[in-house]
């Protein structure tokens, strides 16, 4: 049975310190409200998993919540660096960060394997790159039929995957529209799946080929309107490209970053108040 919980309760109940967690969503539907709640509750020693760490993990890393990062592209899309991620890797601030680094194709294969409960993913990948020399988890297998050497990555099975979606129904079925990245695979790979949603409806239209995570794979649904900002929710609100540009300035400096997080995230009790705090003045 899918549980319906307020976001803070869902995090409190299902995400302990030290957990491996995947907050997925490729540019679209990034579960920012859940990331902020992890910071408010002071989670530590997390193993963060995400293809593109984006601002959401820049914030968690800068606040010292992470010990390890599994990822494949760590930039601010279309803008430049993730300064908090860079500071952690280059200067170990505020604490050292272990890297488990992949390519997009490798991460995708690892999620697919995890979703299927297979031990590893296989791909014709990691060719002509130094990545395997620095990541012992990237290995190879010989195809038993053709003899071709293929790359392997261990399955990703996060303790908890958190997604954001447009809608869920009262049973816990989840509908997602637009760019879905690896959300479906990351959701199915998780031991526990939490989905924050813009809206809970009585009934979803028949899904046909639209993406739907059926209720029996969804552990928790938490209503959270606006929960993807400054990412976006197709059909609801657009990506705040201007904030992504401004984040470059906010995150460049440790003190300015800490002040911003203190005021807008630690200084607000929940996501509604977080958004209100941004409306009131200079972000």
């Amino acid at each position: 049975m899918t549980e319906f919980l307020p976001l803070a309760k869902a995090i409190e109940k299902h995400v302990p310190d030290g957990a491996s967690i995947a907050l997925e969503g490729f540019t679209h539907l990034i579960p920012f409200a859940a990331g902020h709640e992890l910071i408010r509750q002071g989670r530590r020693d997390l193993h963060l998993i995400r293809m593109t760490p984006d601002l959401i993990y820049d914030q968690l890393i800068g606040m010292g919540a992470a010990r390890r990062l599994t990822f494949s592209w760590g930039g601010n899309p279309g803008v430049g660096s993730l300064h908090r991620l860079r500071d952690a890797v280059e200067q170990a601030w505020p604490r050292p960060l272990e890297l488990d680094e992949h390519s997009h194709a490798g991460m995708a294969a690892a999620y697919r394997a995890g979703a299927a409960r297979l031990p590893f993913g296989v791909l014709r990948g990691y060719i002509g790159t130094d990545l395997p020399a620095h990541n012992p988890r990237i290995r190879a297998v010989t195809c038993p039929y053709t003899g071709e050497a293929l790359a392997t990555v261990p399955a990703l099975n996060p303790d908890v995957t958190i997604l954001h979606a447009q809608r869920a129904d009262r049973l816990g079925n989840v509908a997602i529209e637009g760019i879905i990245g690896a959300q479906r695979e990351a959701g199915l790979a998780a031991k526990t799946l939490i989905v924050t949603v813009e809206e809970i409806v009585d009934e979803l239209p028949p899904a046909m080929n639209g993406v739907l995570l059926p209720h029996f794979v969804v552990g928790v649904v938490s209503p959270c309107p606006g929960g993807a900002w400054p990412s976006y929710a197709q059909g609801r609100y657009g990506r705040d490209n201007d904030f992504y540009l401004r984040w470059d300035e906010i995150a460049r400096d440790r003190a300015r970053f800490s002040a911003w997080m203190g005021r807008h995230v630690l200084g607000t009790p929940g996501h509604r108040e977080f958004l209100d705090s941004l409306r009131q003045g200079t972000a």
């Binding site: 899309p77 997009h104 194709a105 990545l131």
Partner: protein, 258 residues
């Protein structure tokens, strides 16, 4: 037409290399501008695929990020990202993949991972993303980078993506590797035998010496150096209109969700 910037020349040069019907794997920034310029001018049937899963997208403005809503709204279909990498790129369905990087060497190998040692980098760069597999599996790779000795280096700090490296033929890479490197001074292409990048095209008004100074290894210049015509008025008009639409769209404030 002489009043154009080097960025515009570079974008137009990349666009001219694309043909109608070509299946392209597009990156953000200049490649995105070049592909859309080609689509809006000589190659209306160009198929644009962005790694976020949008196939045959026809954006009216250039996206800031690889996953802007504009790309999904104007796409023929939107597929999960794992499908893009396994069933489209790995399966050999991409004609041209675009790449850029912080560093390139004379064989077209690329670094977008670190400057300095991996374990203690001076500069941590974003990393591989889709680049490693694009470099290996697209039928051709078009590299787009501004020429400077900092970027065109004798030796990479880290090899993120393979060009014409020793052993490529037996590596399992099924794509042809870098076909061209489009810079802001001219175009480099790999020599057939060695895979070494040589200067084959210079843009109007740029002396060969300037190209030589901008490349951090002893640059070979092709004996029959071609010169590429300057951007036409029509090309510049399409490109500038696209960029103006993009700037206007990106200035629209986003209302915070309630």
């Amino acid at each position: 037409m002489s009043d154009y910037s080097r960025d515009e020349m570079m974008t137009v040069a990349a666009a001219r290399l694309l043909w109608d019907g070509c299946i392209t794997f597009v990156g953000i920034g200049l490649p995105s501008a070049a592909c859309n310029l080609a689509r809006l001018s000589h190659a209306p049937g160009l198929v644009l695929i962005y790694e976020s899963g949008t196939i045959n997208t026809r954006p009216t403005v250039l996206p800031l990020s690889i996953g802007d809503g504009e790309l999904a709204e104007t796409a023929a279909c939107v597929v999960p990202l794992p499908d893009i990498f396994s069933d489209y790129l790995q399966a050999g369905r991409i004609d041209v993949g675009f790449l850029g990087a912080a560093q390139i060497d004379r064989h077209g190998n690329l670094n977008s991972t670190v400057i300095g040692p991996y374990g203690k980098p001076r500069t941590r760069l974003p990393g591989a993303g889709g680049a490693t597999e694009i470099a290996a599996q697209a039928k051709q790779v078009f590299i787009v980078m501004k020429a400077s000795p900092r970027s065109f280096v004798p030796r990479l700090d880290f090899q993120t993506s393979g060009g014409h490296f020793a052993g490529r033929a037996a590596s399992g890479a099924r794509g042809g590797g870098p076909a061209v490197v489009v810079t802001d001074v001219g175009i480099l292409k790999p020599q057939a035998a060695s895979g070494e990048l040589v200067l084959t095209v210079l843009y109007p008004g740029i002396p060969a010496e300037e190209a030589r100074a901008a490349i951090g290894w002893p640059l070979t210049i092709a004996q029959e150096l071609e010169s590429m015509p300057a951007p036409t008025a029509a090309e510049l008009a399409v490109l500038r209109a696209l960029e103006a639409r993009t700037a206007a769209a990106h200035r629209q404030p986003v209302r915070l969700p309630t």
